[in-house]
Each structure stands twice: as structure tokens, then as C-alpha cells.
Amino acid sequence: MSIKKACILLLFPVLLISNKVTVVNFEQLQNYAANKNNDTLYVVNFWATWCDPCVKELPAFQQESKKYAANKVKIIYVSLNSGKELNKVQDFVDSHKLGPPVLLLSGDNPNVWINKVDTSWSGAIPATVMYKSGKKVYFREGDFTSESLDKIIQSKNK
């Protein structure tokens, strides 16, 4: 077998199962959720691989994603790892089967975009913002339990 063939054979299943982390700036991020003018509830979770409480609450979001797969709820995972840590984030996403989508927000000045997410946000993570019909319907700085997250999503998804 040629090396090329072997590579393609090996790569093909990887491409199928892997969820590639996309690096975005803040404006691009807004197009995933805040600027979507439809009746889907977009849940944007800000996390990082180094943030223990973030990692701890991720399964709750994954659970919600499964639960509401047919009910117009879309979870968007936004990593705030350094842009230099893209590979680290990709490894984490692969091993935890996170998303899609998983985005890595990089390049813009946090002092500007943190306030655009919510003026009450200090910048500590985890933080979660929800949008529906192009409007912000919820923001929280802090972590969730499965129960508290489910309750909020239920109430916002009516």
C-alpha cells in the first residue's frame, strides 16, 4: 500500500469523528448566536481547559444538548484558552467529544468584548449567555449544576 493511501485510510475516520475547533474573533462569534434571528435558544458557554469549574460543568451542557437535540436548543462552546493552545483545546475536544461547535475566541481586546457580552460580567469564567430571536435572554457568571442548567434552559426554551 502506498503511503498516501495509508494516510487517507487512516485520516478518513479521524475526519469523520473529529470536531474541529474554529478560531474566531468576537464579531464572528456573534454570528453563531447573538445575531441569529430565529426561535432557537442559543446557549453560549465560555470555558477553558485550565478552568476546573468550567470543565466540571461541561457534561451538564452536553447532557442538555442531547436532551433538547430536537427542540431548538443549540449549545456553543467558546474556549478562552490562549490562541497558542489550539492543539491542547483540540485534544480536549476530541477526548471529551465536545460540541460541535467548539470555538476558540482570540485576537480581540477582552476589555471591549466582555462588556458586549454583558456589562455585569467581571471576566471570570465559567460564564454563560443565552440568546433567542437575536436578543439576549440570560447571562450568568458562575457555574451550573445539571439541575440548575436544565431549569434555566427549560424556562428560556418556552
Binding site: S82, P110, N111, I114, A124, P126, G142
Partner: protein, 199 residues
């Protein structure tokens, strides 16, 4: 019982959401906290200081690590001008073991800290100041026996790359105070590790 648990969870959630603390212009309280050498440190000990660069930071947080050299540089530049750095670790070591006192001592020794690195074991000072993440800076100006909050926020606008910084917020604030000018901006935000509060 379930209902009570839910209500108490809701109250806890509500309380942790209400962020109190200082605004720019407020009088900051002095503290008496244990340094890595075992001695207690207060701002009142610094008779000749014109003010302080109070930095809530810790051992484990990647942002705190990214800024460690810049915090050392701040003290090197401003201590002699009357604005020394005082670093305070507010994190509960039971939440993150790396933030314990011994590791604080090791970091300070390894990096040759020229400023105190204090432990806020009750977390009262972090709560009172309204620190939420690490690193989180409060620039204070001495006015008589008061310490006035002049700047709250990030050290600069680029945690990733010190060479790509455009705005050195803390340096600008202190430079302006030294020149008798108004501080602008007086507060900034940055991503950081949330302070690990005692549960």
C-alpha cells in the same frame, strides 16, 4: 426537604451573583495579612508610599502565571517612585491545592519576588475589595490616612503576549497619578480565573 434544598441553592446562587466591592473613588480598607516570611503586612507599614498596586493573584492560574513577570516588573519600576506592589492570594487552597502557602513561598523564592505575597486566608479582603478573578489589580492612592481607589482591572490588554501589548493600563494609571493627572480608563476587564471561594 427538596424544596428547602432548592431554595437554599437559589439563595446561594443569588448571593454569589451579587458582586459587591469597591468602585473607583471609594476608600479602600487597610489589611493585616500574613506574608510568605510569616510576618504580618499592612499598607500602614509603608510610611513613604504615595500609593499601592494591590494585585490579587495566585499560584495556579495560567493568567496569573502569564502576568507574573509583568507584576515583578511593575514593582521594579514603581516601588521606588512610591507605588509598591502588594500581591495577595485569596484562593482557598482546599479548592486548588497549588494555591497553598508553601507553594506561594516556593514561587516567591524561585522568582525572587521583591514585594510581599500575602495570604488572604479568610478571603475578607478579596470580598471587601470586590476582587473576582486572578490577576485583578487595584491601584490605590494615599490621601492622608486614607487609601483611595483610583483604578480597578487588568494589568494590560494582552495576557497572551507581553510584547504585543498596546495599552499598559496599570502603568498608565500610576504614571498619571504620579503626574497629578486623572486616570483614564479607571477600570478595565479581562478574562481571568475566578477566585476560588470557600464553600
Amino acid at each position: 426537604m427538596k424544596k428547602i434544598m432548592f431554595i437554599s441553592a437559589a439563595i446561594i446562587a443569588l448571593c454569589s451573583f451579587t458582586i459587591t466591592g469597591y468602585n473607583v473613588g471609594d476608600k479602600a480598607t487597610d489589611f493585616k495579612l500574613k506574608n510568605i516570611d510569616g510576618k504580618m503586612v499592612s499598607m500602614a507599614d509603608y510610611k513613604d508610599a504615595k500609593g499601592f498596586i494591590v494585585v490579587f493573584t495566585c499560584n495556579h492560574c495560567p493568567f496569573a502565571k502569564a502576568y507574573e513577570d509583568r507584576i515583578i516588573a511593575l514593582n521594579a519600576k514603581y516601588a521606588t517612585k512610591g507605588y509598591p506592589v502588594i500581591a495577595i492570594n485569596p484562593n482557598d487552597p482546599n479548592a486548588v491545592a497549588e494555591d497553598n502557602y508553601t507553594t506561594m513561598q516556593q514561587r516567591a523564592k524561585a522568582k525572587n519576588y521583591s514585594f510581599p505575597y500575602l495570604v488572604d486566608s479568610t478571603q475578607n479582603i478579596a470580598h471587601t475589595y470586590g476582587a473576582t478573578r486572578t490577576p485583578h489589580v487595584f491601584v490605590l492612592q494615599k490621601s492622608g490616612s486614607d487609601f483611595l481607589v483610583k483604578y480597578i482591572g487588568a494589568i494590560d490588554d494582552n495576557s497572551d503576549d507581553a510584547t504585543a501589548v498596546k495599552d499598559k493600563y496599570v502603568e498608565n494609571a500610576v504614571d498619571n497619578l504620579l503626574a497629578g493627572k486623572a486616570v483614564n480608563p479607571t477600570s478595565t476587564k479581562a478574562i481571568g480565573c475566578g477566585i476560588k471561594w470557600k464553600s
